[in-house]
Symmetry: C2
Subunit: 402 residues, 2 copies
Amino acid sequence: MAGELDNKVFRATTTAPVNIAVIKYWGKRDPSLNLPTNSSLSVTLSQKSLRTLTTASCAATYPADELILNGKPQEIQSSKRTLACLASLRAHRQAVEDADSSLPKLSTLSLRIVSENNFPTAAGLASSAAGFAALVRAVADLYQLPQSPRDLSRIARQGSGSACRSLMGGYVAWRAGELADGSDSLAEEVAPASHWPEMRALVLVVSADKKDVPSTEGMQTTVATSNLFETRAKTVVPERMAAIETAIQNRDFPAFAEITMRDSNGFHATCLDSWPPIFYMNDVSRAAVRLVHDINRAVGQTVCAYTFDAGPNAVIYYLEKDTELVAGTVKSILGASAEGWDGPFNEPLKDVPAGVALDKLDSRAIEGIKDGVSRVILTGVGEGPISVDEHLVSETGDIISQ
Amino acid sequence: MAGELDNKVFRATTTAPVNIAVIKYWGKRDPSLNLPTNSSLSVTLSQKSLRTLTTASCAATYPADELILNGKPQEIQSSKRTLACLASLRAHRQAVEDADSSLPKLSTLSLRIVSENNFPTAAGLASSAAGFAALVRAVADLYQLPQSPRDLSRIARQGSGSACRSLMGGYVAWRAGELADGSDSLAEEVAPASHWPEMRALVLVVSADKKDVPSTEGMQTTVATSNLFETRAKTVVPERMAAIETAIQNRDFPAFAEITMRDSNGFHATCLDSWPPIFYMNDVSRAAVRLVHDINRAVGQTVCAYTFDAGPNAVIYYLEKDTELVAGTVKSILGASAEGWDGPFNEPLKDVPAGVALDKLDSRAIEGIKDGVSRVILTGVGEGPISVDEHLVSETGDIISQ
């Protein structure tokens, strides 16, 4: 049996998407299991713009488990989170092997996992979510595990909380769950991308001088110190989860937008209420807030919504029909001074005029955006992980650099 | 009787101080009576740096009630708040006259009230608090009313909520009260300035491009829309009020400082949680927050505390013994680029070196302060209104311009 495995390299490769929450995950009730204090909900973003590509392979010739991210070997033994994911996946493979002794004993082999992002890790774009989702999906595919994305989300959650939401496309809820072992804390598809495919997202990448408080540390501080946090987690978010799921079912953009903006503001409010206080938004972020409110006011209805994660970047959601009003207006402000307009979603923007005349907008918002945004990412709602043949490990086990 | 009044101008002049809250007033439970949703507490600032000077006069020759602020006649009939204060004061005078018919019937005469600030009204320095406190105190003195400052605070509150706290010196609480008529919503001295005279305040005046949301409008928005506000008003603030009063009684600066900073952050958190969101702090404000935390960390104990009202200006509290560590360090950052070091409190700063070496501080904080602060105000805890003879109305009723 062992002989059969000797010269063989087993491989599986997947892509995984980034997701941007509209109801934010902030606060762990169990830090080691990554169990959250509240449910959250996100939009999975198209992999045409942002994706992680990961090959999981195993072979008897590999000396030990290895993980290579963007060309850099990682200290896998010091990453409890990675070890927890791999141990779970191996246990599931073991169960499969125990049930069918004809299967190769892949669970006994060392793994070589190679992963590449098509976007800069440091851009503040939740790369860990796509990364852990791709890792879990790729190893599950390598092991040919029968588990559903919902089941696998439990494993990915242990790598990075928000990673569980990147195992599915479209509109995805992460149910906080109640059990101490975390078995009911997992992701569920609220609606597939095809239910509301017109959802677009424009990311305004804002340069930060220095790394902010890391989110794991930040959320622990908030849970431990903010006097307002419990109200958010116990009362406000559960109401918003129900309301935004209804808005998604009804494709009701104004409702979706208001809940999204208010939840982002409420999350950042609890950061500010932490001790010491945590600030992720800066004056450029605030200019984006103003711009969105101004566009909505000028148009006379809610056509765009901002949301901010643990950093200054703005993600602006809008519907494709309002591309001119939203992305066209931002493009007319930034002009050629920002990169990213040439992405795969640029077509609808070509020659699009500003939907809203700039003199209807706050000049501070315009100046703030102009000065602080040097890069945009045009994207929209998209699919979950996709199995591909573009391997990052060769048939002989060598790493293929892209 | 009327003949006796014909040629006489009655006058009384007072100064009144600015106060800066350490537990913030934000939210009205009754907008017309200025009844707050929560109690608040402030430090009355020395009139050596900031004061309003107000002369109240009355004479049979005056054609109508007049109010002149900083040289500009005000539309008194359109200011419900001013009318409410004057009506209350007149009613009290009427009662005095009814009890003693030998007194001149001042309540029947028109008023001429002239008021001057020694600081720019638009500097975001709670000028309305000092203004209404001075107006009420001056008219009460003119009318020789027997009411205590505590009683008069009820009247000043109707002019501007926080004005009630400027009728007393030192450390002043505004009890929210519970009664619908507001009779138990008034200011009380928690401790006189002499109890803890070492308290200093350094105001960093931050230029804002444009006026922020006015505080009356802002607080209504917060009360109506913030999901976190009720927790602040009902739970968080009452606990902080008790804790900071104890800190003041014990002259416990670290406790006073932490409560002050956390309450400022919590207040701004509820602003951010409002819909649409309200931002008063900007990147310069955040640089001041960072600077204060950095100084405290470098020193190894809490020697300074920030607080922000409805605008970007930072007020930094510290004790006189730590002048070098706090004001000295700020002076070494700003150098000659900021005005205000020549104020009446500059003496302890002359030739004072930076208490904290600048290389121990976040360079972003230093740059932010340097770029955004063009003026400082050095001050400290001080006394309440003071009766003076420097009248702004002559013996013949003419306005004296300063």
